[in-house]
């Protein structure tokens, strides 16, 4: 059975890109538009990996990651942070919030799939 990836990003462009890259790599994809929506989706879906953006309305990536790590059922799911910040404060905050790893934008499908493979068994 193919692995399911939950993507959380407020940008439709980015969601569509993730969808294309991930489904071409053979993953099933579930989408959410921000942190709040992501946590809602987690009430029904059981993803193997979560890929999330940081800058989002309503609930940003940090809040979302903390929410997942507090979640009884999903706290062990690997979370990759999608960020244009290649280094520094953001990555550090994401890590402290409980991110498993990160993917540096500009978006590159090869790097994305590679990072997912690294964190998912």
């Amino acid at each position: 059975m193919s692995k399911t990836i939950l993507t959380v990003d407020d940008s439709r462009t980015m969601r569509e890109m993730l969808m294309l890259a991930l489904s071409e790599a053979g993953f099933s994809v579930v989408q959410a538009e921000d942190g709040v929506h992501g946590l809602e989706v987690l009430e029904k879906a059981t993803p193997d990996v979560i890929v999330t953006d940081i800058n989002m309305p309503r609930m940003d990536g940090f809040g979302f990651i903390e929410g997942v790590r507090r979640h009884e059922k999903h706290r062990g799911v690997p979370i990759l942070v999608l960020t244009t910040e290649s280094d520094g404060e953001k990555k550090d905050r994401a890590r402290r919030a409980g991110a498993t790893g990160w993917i540096v934008k500009p978006f590159n499908p090869v790097k994305l799939v590679d990072a997912i493979r690294r964190v998912a068994v």
């Binding site: 790590r69 244009t84 280094d87 498993t100 500009p106 964190v119």
Partner: protein, 720 residues
């Protein structure tokens, strides 16, 4: 479509939305809104454009957005105050950004000079050298688009031809609790190492406590991995990129490792596993233990408060709505089908009533319910095409800025009711007339600063753009607080241009509305601001083409208000159903000013068959619709008829003679051209309740033709 092309299309659609968000946020900031969420929304809009632009390789765009974003980040982190001067620059930057997006979409290039001017202004706000900022924060962010991240593929590409030789590494790896809490796993790291070459792995389990003391989420294992690989050390370390804070790690080449082992053996010959601390002394950078590993239950609490605050504000501008995107053709097909349904339902009702069934019969009651449902469905379907006027309104703020800066005036645009919805086509076709009106208002309506001060007004002019729903239509107003219409001058121009007779007795209102006459232009010279010699008549025609009406009211010294009333949809029409020569016709209600019963004494013959009717001290041509459409040959007695006083798009008034008025009705518009062909004098068709086709009158065509005849008929008389 190629999936990437489809995503690119999404990107540009999203850019448009983000630009609207950006501008509205900046305008709120300009109004003194210093709410952090407003700044965040603005930042997100720019950030989001940057993300997509980077992925598609729009370098010019990325470069500009980057400076823009960095500036916004400074404001977000309160390192730069959003003073009026700063927000003005940001607003102009948003204009440039819109140009760059358009250039990227159309494959052209933006005005490089303009881009540079704003980019330099933004850089100046950043203190000129964002990349060398001492406090580190800005420089870190400004690095985020540097190509520092080298993909594994490129490492292979570079590495293979030059360094095929293998190397032996000894890795010591001791995971901390935080590593597991973040869903990383030793097993996966070992597997990744295995991909690089040959590995042998030892696990030191000596730290595992007794079962009673064992924390099920604790970290007790220490791993030693011997790796033989052709990959460089950097690549080996990269595998631990995500976990380096949550573990103790050392990576040595085998030579150093052997030396170390020998050293340790000589010091403590009986101690089996090497103490990790000793190893740490030899490492250069890689060991970093997390001082406070984040646990599942209690995440570090420096930001949840902020996250909650942000979540609580979710109802604001940044709130996400559940939406789906549907091809417009599908919606239009649905609208068309619902139109058929409405017609069908009307036919059914009529047949039932013709069959003599009582209104209390179950069939009639069922039909009433059907009628209600059909109407609800129609309204709901029309609502799908409805869009807020916000995007058009926001475009106007740019127009105001541009014209204000060209004329050296200071003008403030206030918007109201941007969420008011109207049919998509109406929204799209509003831009041009509205732009023209706004330009006019800033250029001619609002006075120069010194004149305003002299008149005791604030130096800054105010322009108000508002939209409201009023009795099934949308009313859009453009109000300025300028000098108002100079009636003496308008009247003089109209007389000079032969638009009105010199002795004409006009009310103030009538004088104001002279500016809508074709060929009228109050500008002393044709400026490139108010448009290429385009007058308000063009605006009026554009509004009327949408089934709308426009009027102006003006108070000298206080300003002018243009008011437009437009239908909410173009698929249905409010019509007056009339009978002419035994045929049923529909006259658009928007064209009708009033209906009258012609009296014998008010109708005058002009000769050559032309007649006029005296109404309110003016003479209006009388047109027999039946004769124009060739329903009858014989002239008819006007007093037995009903006259509809109508106004054409060009402002010409006429009285249309019809046999009788049946009533007022909303009709579904069916194109005659697509189903049959163009017929002069007829705009479209509709299907009535009894199943018959009724033609919708093209008032303009009807008014224009006999008028031309009349002028020809009048000419000899005038010459004599």
């Amino acid at each position: 479509m190629d999936p990437m092309a489809a995503i690119k299309q999404t990107f540009f659609q999203e850019c448009e939305e983000q630009l609207v968000e950006l501008e509205s946020g900046l305008l709120r900031m300009e109004d003194g809104d210093d709410d952090l969420e407003t700044v965040n929304a603005v930042f997100r809009a720019v950030h989001s454009i940057k993300g997509g632009a980077g992925a598609f390789g729009f370098d010019e765009l990325v470069e500009f957005v980057h400076v823009f974003e960095t500036t916004l980040d400074l404001i977000r982190s309160a390192k730069l105050a959003a003073t009026p001067a700063v927000t003005k620059t940001l607003l102009r930057a948003s204009d440039v950004l819109a140009d760059l997006v358009r250039a990227a979409r159309e494959g052209g290039s933006a005005d490089a000079g303009a881009v540079k001017i704003i980019a330099d202004e933004l850089s100046a706000l950043l203190g000129g050298a964002p990349r060398q900022d001492d406090d580190g924060k800005v420089s870190v962010d400004s690095l985020d688009f540097e190509p520092v991240c080298i993909s594994l593929d490129s490492i292979f590409d570079i590495g293979e031809p030059e360094a095929p030789a293998t190397q032996d590494f000894i890795l010591r790896f001791k995971p901390a609790v935080g590593l597991y809490a973040k869903a990383n796993e030793t097993l996966r790291l070992l597997r990744e190492l295995g991909r690089l070459g040959e590995t042998s792995v030892e696990c030191d389990t000596t730290e595992i406590p007794l079962l009673t003391e064992l924390d099920p989420e604790g970290a007790y294992l220490c791993w030693t991995i011997h790796l033989t690989t052709s990959a460089p050390e950097q690549q080996v370390r990269e595998i631990f990129e995500f976990v380096e804070w949550d573990c103790e790690l050392s990576v040595e080449t085998a030579d150093v490792g052997k030396l170390l082992e020998a050293l340790q053996e000589s010091l403590e010959p009986h101690e089996a596993p090497p103490a990790p601390i000793a190893v740490a002394e030899l490492r250069d950078t890689s060991v970093a233990t997390d001082p406070a590993p984040t646990s599942f239950a209690a995440p570090s609490d420096d930001h949840p408060a902020a996250a909650r605050a942000e979540a609580a504000k979710g109802e604001g501008s940044g709130a996400v709505q559940a939406t789906i995107r549907v091809d417009l053709d599908r919606v239009d097909r649905l609208i068309n089908l619902v139109g058929e349904l409405v017609i069908n339902q009307a036919m059914l009702s009529q047949r039932v009533s013709e069959a003599g069934l009582s209104r209390a019969s179950s069939v009639a009651i069922g039909l009433d319910e059907l009628e209600q449902l059909t109407r609800d469905i129609q309204d709901s379907v029309m609502a799908i095409r409805a869009q807020p006027v916000k995007p058009v309104f926001q475009r106007m703020s740019r127009t105001v800025r541009e014209v204000a800066s060209m004329t050296g005036k200071s003008v403030r645009l206030v918007m109201d009711g941007e969420t008011t919805e109207v049919d998509k086509t109406v929204v799209e076709r509003l831009t041009d007339p509205l732009t023209h009106m706004i330009r006019n208002a800033v250029d001619h309506g609002i006075e120069k600063a010194e004149d305003r001060i002299a008149a005791g007004k604030p130096e800054e002019g105010s322009l108000r753009l508002s939209a409201t729903h009023r009795s099934g239509r949308i009313v859009i107003e453009v109000a300025d607080d300028g000098a108002g219409i100079n009636r003496a001058r308008v009247r003089q121009i109209a007389v000079d241009k032969g638009l009105i007779p010199a002795e004409a007795n006009l009310t103030d209102d009538e004088i104001d509305n002279l500016i809508f006459l074709p060929g009228f232009s109050t500008a002393s010279s044709v400026s490139n601001i108010s448009g290429r010699g385009v007058g308000m008549d063009v605006v009026k025609r554009a509004i009327q083409a949408l089934g709308g009406r426009i009027s102006i009211s003006s108070v000298p010294g206080r300003g002018s208000t243009f008011s437009m009333s437009l239908p909410l949809t173009l698929a249905v029409l409010d019509g007056m159903v009339v009978t002419v020569g035994g045929q049923t016709l529909v006259v658009p209600l928007t064209a009708i000013i009033e209906t009258l019963q012609p009296k014998k004494e008010s109708v005058h013959e002009l000769g050559s068959g032309a007649r006029v009717i005296a109404t309110r001290n003016t003479f209006t041509p009388l047109i027999d619709v039946g004769a124009v459409l060739l329903y009858r040959d014989e002239p008819i007695e006007p007093t037995s008829q009903v006259a509809l006083l109508v106004e054409s798009e060009s402002g010409a008034k006429c009285a249309l003679l019809v046999d009788a008025i049946q009533g007022q009705r909303q009709v579904v518009i069916k194109s005659l051209e697509t189903n049959y062909g163009h017929v002069h004098g007829i705009a479209a068709a509709t299907i009535l309740g009894d199943g018959r086709v009724a033609l919708i009158l093209d008032v303009d065509a009807i008014v224009a033709r006999p008028r031309a005849d009349m002028i020809v008929a009048d000419m000899p008389a005038a010459a004599e």
